[in-house]
Symmetry: C2
Subunit: 444 residues, 2 copies
């Protein structure tokens, strides 16, 4: 079972930062990031994952900063710089940074991740996104976010170029032989000379081939196009599904797409996003859940609900049933519709509705004792709802520490999780082979 930890040293719940256990001053706090990385590595996690965006939303709702996804937060590190730093204080854990194909250049992305892979000794991963926040366009001299089809067409070509650039040099190209004076073998370099729809990129990359051959590629798109891109080009997918049935459907769907690209099912790992509330007992987990809820004022709750459903809820009575909003009121995400559906089906009040959605920023939610959590994880894993989990702790660091102290040993007893790192690179630990160089055969 693969376990990934959110590397944002800040919990996923909007009330989290105010909790007494939460680290003080979470805004761009390096010390916290270092401590979190060390905790996750001591817990034998496969990797740290950093979501990212290039803009700030909700400035009009400053109390929401913690409810916005990490990619909308106003005070974060740039992911690749942070993970380069964390590479120096860790030895085993994978380091996966989000970078968009929509507002960056393939040569630059290939370089940065090759560099991170060399710095970390083969622990780098790239989470390829096409950018979820349309407003980011305005930071890159664009009038608007390109439509999804265009973003994905660009993303596909982008990923191919990046992989081609990583293959610029054979693994043995840099002989660096002092005696003969031969530094590199000019027969072991390939200039890409890519010319395509969106890009023309000459190459070669000015970096030796990455330690892993290719840093591990993650993808998180959930649309049809997103899924096709993952099936064709990704090593790992982060999926967010609220129920085990839906997760199984997505799992089967993604794995079934692989043969068309000549790939085997085990070549794509699917990680399910989940926030885990664990206690020594079920009651302790419930109490933490309640404590966080109490840190969210009704004003913040209403702002948050408004954001999620795309309709301004300020002014509605908290303890009246949710109003019956017309479909046109709700935002474009589909999430808004789902929330209103649940509220209607269960007859929730406004207050109950916002409380229901507060803790679920990372999608799914597991809550209970260590045994209950391990049971859920085992069930998801064994019934092919996922190959592992992308875990957000409700409170950082205690949520992660408690998970490592209580749940990880239970998973280990059941033979579901490692008791020591298997290999040297992220690929080794994920059970993914090192890709062959498309331009050169292996050294003799």
């Amino acid at each position: 079972m693969i376990l990934a930890a959110n590397a944002n040293a800040q919990g996923s719940h909007v009330g989290e930062w105010r909790h007494p256990d939460a680290w003080d001053r979470p805004a761009s706090n390096l010390e916290n990031a270092v401590r979190l990385a060390r905790i996750a590595e001591a817990g034998l996690f496969d990797l740290l994952f950093l979501a990212d965006g290039n803009g700030v939303r909700n400035l009009d709702k400053p109390d929401l900063f913690a409810a916005t996804s990490p990619s909308d937060r106003p005070a974060v590190f740039e992911p690749v710089t942070l993970l380069s730093a964390l590479a120096m204080v860790t030895r085993h854990i994978g380091l996966v940074a989000t970078t968009t194909t929509t507002y960056d250049e393939p040569y630059a992305v290939a370089r940065r991740f090759a560099s991170l892979d060399h710095i970390s000794g083969g622990r780098a991963g790239w989470n390829l996104v096409t950018t979820s926040n349309p407003g980011d366009a305005l930071n890159f001299s664009k009038e608007a976010h390109a439509p999804r089809e265009d973003r994905y067409a660009r993303a596909g070509e982008f990923a191919d170029i990046v992989k081609g650039l990583w293959d610029s040099w054979a693994d043995d190209a840099f002989s660096q032989d002092k005696a003969s004076g031969r530094f590199l073998d000019p027969a072991r370099v390939h200039a890409l000379n890519h010319k395509g729809e969106h890009f023309s990129v000459a190459g070669p990359l000015n970096a030796p081939r990455p330690v892993q051959g290719h840093p591990v590629i993650f993808s998180a798109g959930q649309s049809e196009m997103g899924k096709e891109l993952s099936a064709r080009t990704a090593d790992c997918v982060f999926a967010i599904e609220g129920t085990i049935e839906r997760a199984r459907t997505l799992y089967a769907d993604l794995k079934a797409r692989l043969p068309r690209y000549g790939r085997r099912p085990e070549s794509l790992k699917i990680l399910s996003g989940v926030t885990i509330f664990v206690g020594e007992t079920e009651a302790e987990a419930d109490a933490l859940f309640q404590a966080l809820e109490d840190l969210v004022s009704p004003a913040v709750g209403l702002d948050y609900l408004s954001k999620m459903i795309g309709h301004r809820m300020t002014g509605y009575a908290l303890d009246e049933p949710m109003p019956d909003l017309e479909a046109e009121h709700v935002g474009p995400t589909g999430i808004g519709k789902a929330i209103l559906g649940v509220a209607r089906a269960e007859g929730l009040t406004v207050r109950q509705t916002y409380k229901r959605i507060l803790p679920q920023m990372a999608g799914n939610l597991f809550k209970g004792s260590a045994r209950q959590i391990a049971d859920l994880m085992e069930e998801w894993y064994r019934t092919e709802a996922c190959d592992g989990f992308m875990i957000a702790a409700p409170v950082v660091p205690t949520g992660l520490e408690r998970l490592i102290r209580l749940v990880v040993p239970e998973l280990q007893r059941r033979g579901l999780f490692r008791t020591a790192y298997e290999g040297r690179t992220l690929r080794d630990n994920l059970g993914l082979p090192r890709p062959a160089n498309r331009f050169f055969s292996e050294p003799a």
Copy 2:
């Protein structure tokens, strides 16, 4: 006196990597980079500097790799990722990375350097270049490098945006007050909403204001436009002049440009690039010089000379006088012309000519005993040829170690160089004030 060290863990001389004292396997070698950073910090250097480019030249001349400037080398780290890593193994030394304004985005550059500044606790610097290698264009879906005027127009607007984004948040914007639940003060953020000739950038940046307010800005342009950009917007200039007279002229020229931008002479520091051969005695320095020369075969020497003058020299007899080449044969840089001029004036042979230019990759050359070197440095400094030096060691690490062991104490005795770091940030150590935020007054 400011002292900066080249952070490329590889010497400036084309024969260097073959020298017995040179580190083995210099291609993207992290361990060497870490050792070099620690050596420079132990020597109280102000900063580490990383040149950069986004392409590989001279693939047809593989033996030249070490003669190409660091920005053309085929196997280097991406500078910001490397310096983020080095931030974790150093405490005082400044970390200056080169990034081009021609093939990058101001929002992205502002983020990466803000992030590096937070990670390093205020030690980041940005060396702004417009890219010297025209071939880099082909890696960024451009048919050709834009003309210098266009590149500098873009660069000026780019730098203004970056500074504006660094000022997005007042220094006290992120109150992060758990008790009140107030994370940030929405009155202390400024969205840039820049709309200009080359860019439109909304902002705000998703990072708190950098520790230094603005990371230190370096610039290395030597053209009229380059000098104007430096005078308007840079904190430091790297200059390369081969004689003290020319360095003084440039120094006076640059400083005289400042009042027009409302700046005082001491607000711009001028560092002179120099390769230093130092020995316990003058004879020892000469011997090292000779040893390096002997590592350069005639074939490599001719390739190198060909590259520098822009005319293919293979086939010319080594011990005949340099041919009288027509001006149209020589490259566009002006360097070629200068080399031919020296060869003609001094009646050098082909072999003597390539030997003359081999060690001067970083421009100027000082050679001698510790006292002779200190005398030269003092003269340059006291007679306003520079405010300090950007030092390339002929052999890494021994060249730098010897300099620190022999020359630094001599400079300290003369009261020219620090005996301990003065401050916490790179600005502190350079004697540059922290810039005010253009949008917010200081916290009450």
